[in-house]
Amino acid sequence: MVEYLYFVISLLSVLGGASLLLLLTHREGDDLYRLNHISVLFLVVALFAALMQWNLGTRGYLLEGLFGKVLYIDDFALLFDTMFITGTIMTLLINTEYFANRRYFNGEYFALILFSLFGMMLLAHSHELVTAFIALEIASLSVYALVGYHKNNLVSIEAMMKYFTLGSIGGILFLLGSVIIFAATGSTELGAIAQYTHKGSADLTPVIIGATFIMIAVMFKIGAVPFHAWVLDVYEGAPFPVTMFMASTFKIAIFAIALRLYIVDFVPMHGTWTHLLELMAALTMLGGSWLAITQKSLKRMLAGSSIVHSGYMLIAITSIGLGSNIAASAIIFYLIAYFVSSVGAFGILSFISATSRKELTYDDFKGFSERRPYMAAMMAVFMLSLAGFPSTIGFLGKFYIFTAAIESGEFFLAGLGIAMAFVSVYYYFKLIAMIYFYPNKEPQKELVFNSSTLLIILLAAVVVLGGMGSGLIPYMPSADGFIDIATAAVGALGTPLR
């Protein structure tokens, strides 16, 4: 009993932090820096707690006697916890300057971020559909409000409107799917559903239909192509820290539940879904590439490209359905790779836009390499990683995904993925070209070392190290380390029947 409390420290720490921040919010003259530090403090505690439990091989329901089979603890969830917390810490620390230069931020911002994080962590832990839905809604409602946080700016509130409306439909579809499955199996607990679906005797049509609704909701949330209408606008309209939070952390959260469901419970629907997923992956990559190519604003370009990255991950999901052994760990590795690179890229954008009010476009980066040579180099590294250039972590991510696709016989999708990687070179290298090809008249700015820049440097180092070093450089966590982590996490999901 008591030792289980040990496992909820990270959850409780996040929740406690959120509540405390609520209390602190309305004091007169609230100091954003201090609130920021307080939230980071709680998050660091949570991160340590999560890391301590990593790789203990724990697998089991949390307080089953009291809570029932609702929350589950395994390495899969812990890995996602770690990523969410890290992503949130990055979001908070990298954007320190950004808060300071905008007057619309106040204490509730931190509380909402922490609530949202709490929802995401629950989502990774939940082993029951209704809990997952509520966790998803906790995360989503907070993020809706965060998107519209600059509420006196029409762009921001309009983005919130679009996201809220479409996101609600997505949520309701998830709920509807859960209810249909509940009707068919008599339970919403994932283990019971898995038992039902593996029994073999029952008519699985209702389960498949319910699962389809859930998967459509997932597609809604990750912005896969017929359901992508909101992505660009919302990313553009949201304040930079929120865009960063959504693109990196929130997107991964959806994959946490989607993977758990797809690998463990929805095995019978793999056959039904394969063709649909293939089509969707192809459409997502094509549509996302088209959107990304045609943008001028970098926020919108990154939003479009994030759709493309969802498309790559959909390829891997398809491969899981076709029985690939390596696809599941490939997708988790890709999530890590995408997470690191996109947090870095958004981090630099928000670092730059902290002191200017402009919408950042390609043209704004002309001469950037001379203004800020180190930032420019790191931006180039992140772009290379997103484009999948070798010696970065992004390349290995694509390598695993495409290898998995080839292993499962998805030759066309792998080819299309590589073709889209080729297209992505265009819009990522366009930025590198802007950074490096144009002279600059302004004087060079010194690189100041503060939390933002240090974290960005750290991320760049992870991108490069994760893409190369291994046995060559001793004592360095790197490419091998990441894929081992991913494999261990997937291994924790284990066989569907426990």
Binding site: F395, E407, I418, G471, L472
Partner: protein, 490 residues
């Protein structure tokens, strides 16, 4: 020492660049440091050549696991072909750094160091993924050098170069991934080492597709005719050192790729489709020669001349007999030196006159006799006149061509004659006749510039006059490789 030699050659420039960049070194330090680094790598390369024994095997092999879950290894090794290319780099890079002596833009120096690492890595790596890594890595500095320091429509031209080369390399990546997977499904463990992939046998259709995937990367890099649209614009807007590397080294890497991967992995398909590629090379020979004749810009002219010669090398490679192969390998080296020299001359010409247009030049010989001498020497060695290395290599390829087919030989010989003619005409127009506005004040070569050019001249002469020095080594090594290839096909 032995097993780290290759790693040092590859990574010394890269680490040097990193250290100097992070240490925010000043221009002077950067210049001295770069020269020192290149001197050391050159020394190492020659040590390597000295220790090398030509018995047809891979030497100085270094193979350690890199990404062990997927069997990707850090796998370097050197055989005769890579050694020749390595020595070419070892000779050229210090000269280029000397040529860049006046260069004030730091990024240029860093890019060159990065480029040196990249090309050395491509030459030495024997693991397909590692090869791909370096293959892409060497593109990046070229991208920066042309896009940032180039002239004319630089960003458009460099984007064209980037996208076309990446198109090829991504098809290659797909082929590599597929072969790795096939190896895994047969043997149960992952490996991307060349000799492991060479064990694979595919159904003929798959084999053709895979071979096409690899070849696309290589023919775009060479470039064979039809895949050449990036070439002239990129050569036109690149700064001189970048052009030298593009034509003297990077284009050869396409040929090297066919040698290393094409012959060892897809022997059957390559034999089957050799006539097609030979025809393409012959057509390229004709096409590039005609285009070269009609150019007014010197850069473009020599870009096309270079294209013609690379078509010739490819031709020799695919004829696959001992003469043609020796000729090709020899040509790789001689063409590198002569085209490097020629493009350096063009760079010096541009420094003085500010133009590349033949029609705006003339009368240089009276004002700058030394310059004129070097200019005409390199032009002739590009044309392949007797006494220079180019002659020997072209002769060998033509002999090889005659051995396999009379008409191919005749055609190749004809193109050689045509090259001599148009290069003569060009030199006459540029060096003699009325001096023009651009050449009013034309200084002769400075001592430093002469120092840069003399080694190339000596090398070309040596290779032209004493080919037997090299040929004996080539013969043993290449006949071993040729036998292995024929065995593989049979």
């Amino acid at each position: 020492m032995g097993q780290h030699l290759l790693s040092m050659i590859v990574f010394l420039p890269l680490f040097g660049a990193l250290v100097m960049a992070l240490g925010r070194s000043g221009l002077r330090l950067l210049r001295t440091g770069t020269l020192a680094i290149s001197a050391v790598t050159t020394l190492l390369s020659f040590t390597l050549a000295f220790l090398f024994t030509a018995d047809g095997s891979m030497q100085f092999v270094r193979k350690v696991p890199w990404i062990s879950n997927y069997g990707i290894t850090y796998y370097l090794g050197v055989d005769l072909i890579s050694l020749v290319l390595l020595l070419v780099i070892a000779v050229l890079m210090p000269l280029l750094y000397l040529y860049m002596h006046e260069e004030k833009r730091k990024g240029f120096w860093y890019s060159m160091l990065l480029l040196q690492s990249g090309v050395s890595g491509v030459i030495l790596s024997l693991d397909a993924i590692l090869f791909y890594l370096f293959w892409e890595m060497m593109l990046l500095p070229v991208f920066l050098m042309i896009g940032r320091y180039g002239a004319g429509e630089r960003s458009y031209n460099v984007m064209q170069l980037l996208l076309m080369t990446l198109l090829g390399s991504l098809t290659m990546l797909y082929a590599i991934l597929y072969m790795g997977y096939r190896f895994y499904s047969i043997s149960g463990h992952w490996s991307y080492a060349v000799e492991d992939l060479a064990k694979l046998r595919f159904e003929s259709e798959t084999d053709i597709l895979l071979a096409a995937g690899f070849l696309l990367a290589f023919v775009i890099k060479i470039p064979l005719v039809g895949f050449h649209t990036w070439m002239a614009p990129a050569y036109g807007s690149a700064p001189t050192p970048a052009v030298v590397i593009l034509s003297a080294v990077m284009a050869k890497l396409g040929v090297y790729g066919i040698w290393r991967f094409g012959f060892s992995l897809f022997g059957d398909t390559l034999t089957l489709y050799a006539p097609g590629i030979i025809a393409l090379s012959l057509f390229g020979l004709l096409y590039y020669t005609l285009r070269a004749i009609s150019q007014d810009g010197l850069r473009e002219m020599f870009a096309f001349a270079s294209g013609a010669h690379l078509s010739m090398i490819t031709l020799g490679l695919l004829l696959a007999n001992i003469y043609a192969w020796s000729g090709s390998l020899y040509f790789i080296a001689t063409h590198a030196f002569s085209s490097a020299g020629m493009f350096l001359m063009l760079g010096l010409l541009y420094r003085r006159s500010g133009t590349f247009a033949i029609s705006e030049l003339g009368g240089i010989a009276q004002r700058a006799p030394k310059f004129a001498f070097f200019f005409i020497f390199f032009a002739l060695s590009v044309a392949g006149l007797p006494g220079t290395g180019g002659f020997v290599s072209e002769l060998l390829i033509i002999i090889g061509a005659f051995k396999s087919n009379l008409w191919i030989g005749v055609f190749a010989a004809m193109s050689m004659v045509a090259a001599v003619l148009y290069l003569f005409t060009m030199s006459r127009k540029v060096l003699f006749g009325e001096s023009s506005e651009a050449t009013e004040r034309f200084d002769d070569l400075s001592p430093l510039e002469t120092t840069i050019l003399v080694p190339l001249v000596l090398l070309l002469l040596a290779m032209g006059i004493f080919p037997s020095l090299f040929m004996s080594i080539f013969d043993t090594q290449l006949s071993i490789m040729l036998d292995a290839f024929r065995e593989g096909v049979a």
